[in-house]
């Protein structure tokens, strides 16, 4: 009897673990639909069935049991995608070595992070939860779907999204190196440690290839090469199985990485921040490299002093697939506004500006077949705005992920605590001092410095 009980329990638990991702059906009626890739459709309905966009058109009848949202007078756009975020992670930097491709932010997903909810309140349905930039090669990074409300970290992950990894150049990894008196302490060192890692990864790959080949021969006696997750990941980058997302600011270091990538045959490369990307836009375009930038951040450190808010426009006009990202728990809530700044600085069209936070981000994460535009067959990730999303007065009203409403401004509570614990000691407000360390990429690493070296710089 006891055994049966245990068996039932085990089954129950495993069923729970394998719980299906929640998918919903919803009909969004009569909105101005900004498909991004297929133009703007007035007075149009969008039907999401079981998590996927089933139909876009006029006068679609609601299937029985389908929730209907009246979007009359509103704008309906694809869920916004942030190509650079750290929301929903309980750790960001490993940073104990210049090269740590063995770690993975997907192992530290925190589904309770209120930052995810706040992102939803800005129409953001997917974010790229990147490793930090304390070291030259950081960790693999997870693409999150903002299924806020689930308690299971696994369900926050975008199933089927390609693997990505964080690289970092310039001040962050070299500051880190200088503090620890190790390479890289200069941009020369950054190139070297990256090349070294690629070379070791290549050797490792060749050793395994040889072993696997030899093994097939009858009578083979020999041991396999020692397993290394670190080198395995480097080999996977060379094989093209992982998209590199490279934290970078200056034109020289961007150009350097392009050459390194060329030498090792790495084609999938997205530069992050890329403040001086505009200076090497022709090189980026020629290589097929992509760029993810801030709309107007500059001068928060020396390496972004020679920036321009026209960066995204110059990159776009030169044919580089460009996105606007947040790297910030604050900015992620108004990426639509950040994208609109490219209309002020460079005169991008509505569709071009919206692409910077939707379809282009999807391309950079390798998921443009799934999300980034409103098209039949794509995921039912939708943001509904009162006013136009590129207007400063535009307000995100409803955000839908896989057909499930995850944010509704009308139902949003003043106090979002599920319950108030009388013993809780959390009622101390936090005020960010007006600072200039905009770069959230160093989070965690900075705290370590503080405890190790008694400094917070």
């Amino acid at each position: 009897m006891k055994k049966i009980l245990i068996l039932v329990l085990v089954i129950a638990i495993s069923v729970r673990v394998q719980a299906q991702i929640e998918k919903g059906s919803v009909l969004i009626k009569n909105g101005t639909v900004l498909t991004v890739t297929k133009g703007t459709l007035e007075n149009t309905d969008v039907l999401v069935t079981n998590g996927k966009i089933a139909q876009i058109g006029k006068n679609i009848a609601a299937p029985a049991g389908t929730k209907v949202i009246d979007a009359t007078g509103m704008h309906v756009m694809p869920g916004i995608i942030d190509a650079h975020s750290h929301a929903g992670l309980s750790a960001i930097n490993e940073g104990t070595n210049a090269i740590t491709p063995e770690v993975f932010t997907g192992d530290v997903v925190n589904p309770f992070d209120v930052g995810i909810y706040r992102a939803l309140a800005g129409g953001v349905t997917v974010s790229h939860a990147l490793h930090g930039s304390a070291n030259s090669i950081g960790g693999e990074s997870e693409t999150l779907k903002h299924r806020y409300g689930t308690t299971d970290p696994e369900q926050m992950k975008m199933e089927g999204a390609p693997r990505t990894i964080k690289f970092a150049l310039g001040e962050n990894p070299t500051n880190h190196g200088r503090r620890n008196n190790e390479q890289p302490s200069s941009r020369m060192g950054v190139e070297f440690v990256i090349r070294k890692a690629f070379n070791e990864g290549k050797e490792y790959m060749q050793a395994w290839d040889k072993y696997n080949k030899d093994k097939a021969v009858k009578g083979f006696r020999g041991a396999p090469p020692a397993y290394s997750k670190r080198l395995e990941t480097m080999a996977d980058i060379i094989k093209g199985n992982i998209i590199v997302h490279c934290h970078s600011y200056r034109a020289d270091e961007i150009n350097m990485v392009l050459k390194v990538c060329k030498d090792f045959g790495v084609k999938k490369i997205v530069f992050q921040h890329t403040n001086e990307g505009f200076k090497v836009a022709p090189e980026l375009a020629a290589y097929g490299a992509m760029a993810s930038v801030f709309a107007d951040w500059w001068a928060y450190k020396l390496e972004v002093y020679y920036s321009t808010a026209y960066n995204a426009a110059i990159l776009t006009r030169n044919g580089v697939v460009t996105t606007i990202n947040s790297d910030s728990g604050e900015l992620i809530r108004h990426l639509y506004h950040e994208a609109a700044k490219t209309q002020k600085y460079g005169g991008l069209s509505d569709d071009e500006a919206l692409s910077l936070i939707t379809i282009n981000s999807a391309k950079q994460l390798g998921v443009d077949n799934r999300i980034g535009s409103l098209e039949v067959g794509k995921d039912g990730d939708v943001a509904i705005f009162k006013g136009h999303p590129l207007s400063v007065y535009g307000i995100p009203m409803i955000t839908i992920v896989d057909g499930v409403v995850r944010f509704d401004r009308e139902k949003d509570a003043d106090d979002i605590r599920v319950y108030v614990d009388p013993k809780a000691s959390i009622d101390v407000p936090v005020f960010m001092e007006a600072g200039h360390t905009h770069d959230a990429c160093m989070q965690g690493a900075e705290e370590n410095f503080q405890s190790l070296f008694g400094t917070n710089k």
């Binding site: 107007d296 728990g329 106090d415 407000p429 005020f431």
Partner: protein
């Protein structure tokens, strides 16, 4: 001998040609008499004048209206289809004090010491920082620059974003900054216990009160000796104008508890002139602020809520909620290099409850009133400073382009380092290969 003259002449000519060529590339501010014609003029205080003209002369608005004669010799700028707004005022920035972050040598934001009101932010402003042109071409013409640091970190000033020495930039207002003892956390990495936070705040408050009491004493001695009290006491000398109500205290308080604490302290100490700054949780205690009749400079609007459980848009809504309760509210960005986003901060405040009209006032006339310069700035009226900008639409709307900026009657160049980079790199030559 003749040859020498010839050579000298050639050299002089060469130098002149060279200079002219160089000058052709350098754009600088231009003074003179200007007439901006056929414009939609948002006066802020007297509604909108359609198809109007503004004449700028001697740094002032000398004419404004629909029936204006353009003076002879005036440079006329046709503003058909365009809008004219008064220069926008940011109530709190570090512009000019900080060149770029993370390098101590590039920052003059703060000095050592808890009580140093004699430190003047304006004297450390770099009038030639590229940040200033980048800022003013957005339409933000005038900003408070204020020091950071301890309890009384120094004196803030209002400055116009044009001038070659700080005196040319000074816009007529000083305020002494007080960072009211903070019971909240300084950031997400501040791991002090609640008890430690409380003790630190109490200790600071005692220091602040003692300082103020000393300043009052100093003022009494100074009055009794008719200013002949010759003892050099820089801190108290700097505070004396505040005791006398000639200069306000700009009291920074953000947590609801601290705002109430500041209101109580001000009442107890009978401080004559006060501006509350920061006021992130003002919405929690808006009625109390309104009752105390103390004006507020709040921002950034584009900020996170101060508590995890607060509604996500509380910072967007804060200004509107305070205004609704009857508080006089002006905005600030609390930024350095992106003060240009003041207009977007105002736009968000407008969308989340403040409304467009009040949002406009919160970066123009209300700010000017709070800083005591509404006779010169904050609206477009005859006799006020010729500090304004011309744009092609609602200035808070993200894509709106600013066409011309005037500060004290000088026409600003519209190129900045950022536009220069755009011009150079939009179509880079050579591209990938040289030939």
């Amino acid at each position: 001998m003749k040859n020498i003259f010839k050579i000298t002449g050639l050299l002089v000519a060469a130098v002149i040609v060279y200079t002219v060529q160089v000058n052709a590339q350098v754009q600088k501010a231009k003074g003179g008499v200007f007439a901006l014609t056929n414009a939609n003029i948002q006066t802020v205080t007297n509604g909108v004048i359609n198809n109007g003209t503004i004449v700028l002369s001697g740094g002032k608005i000398t004419e404004i209206g629909t029936n204006v004669t353009v003076p002879q010799g005036a440079t006329t700028i046709d503003c058909k289809g365009l809008w004219i707004y008064p220069g926008m005022i940011d109530g709190g920035t570090r512009t000019g004090l900080l060149e770029f972050g993370q390098v101590d040598q590039a920052s003059d934001e703060q000095d050592a010491g808890q009580i140093i009101p004699q430190m003047r932010a304006l004297s450390a402003v770099n009038p030639n920082t590229p940040i200033i042109p980048v800022t003013r071409v957005s339409g933000v013409t005038t900003v408070i620059v204020y020091p950071a640091g301890g309890l009384i970190p120094g004196t803030a000033s209002l400055m116009n974003l044009h001038g070659y020495v700080p005196d040319q930039m000074f816009a007529g207002f000083d305020g002494i900054v007080v960072n009211f003892p903070n019971t909240g956390r300084r950031g997400f990495n501040d791991r002090r216990t609640e008890d430690d936070l409380k003790k630190a705040a109490e200790k600071s408050l005692t220091t602040l009160s003692d300082t103020w009491d000393k300043a009052v004493q100093y003022h009494k001695i100074d009055s009794a000796t008719k200013g002949k009290n010759s003892e050099y006491y820089p801190e108290l000398q700097a505070l004396m104008p505040a005791v006398r109500g000639q200069v306000p205290l700009m009291i920074e308080a953000n947590a609801a508890k601290d705002i109430l604490g500041a209101l109580k302290w001000v009442k107890e100490k009978k401080v004559k002139k006060v501006i509350l700054t920061g006021v992130a949780e003002g919405w929690r205690v808006a009625d109390e602020i309104a009752k105390a009749n103390i004006p507020v400079v709040t921002g950034p609007v584009l900020a996170l809520p101060s508590r995890d459980y607060d509604r996500y848009d509380k910072a967007y809504a804060n200004a509107g909620l305070m205004k609704k309760a009857g508080v006089k509210v002006a905005l600030r960005t609390t930024d350095t290099e992106n003060v240009r986003n003041l207009l977007y901060n105002a736009g968000f405040a407008a969308a989340y409850g403040l409304g467009k009209e009040e949002a406009l006032k919160s970066v123009t006339i209300t700010s000017a009133e709070i800083f005591g310069v509404s006779d010169k700035l904050g609206s477009l009226e005859k006799g006020k400073n010729a500090t304004l900008f011309v744009c092609d639409g609602d200035p808070f709307e993200t894509k709106t382009q600013v066409k011309h900026v005037f500060i004290d009657g000088y026409q600003m160049p519209m190129n900045t380092r950022q536009t220069d980079l755009y011009e150079e790199f939009l179509k880079r030559d050579p591209g990938v290969s040289k030939y």
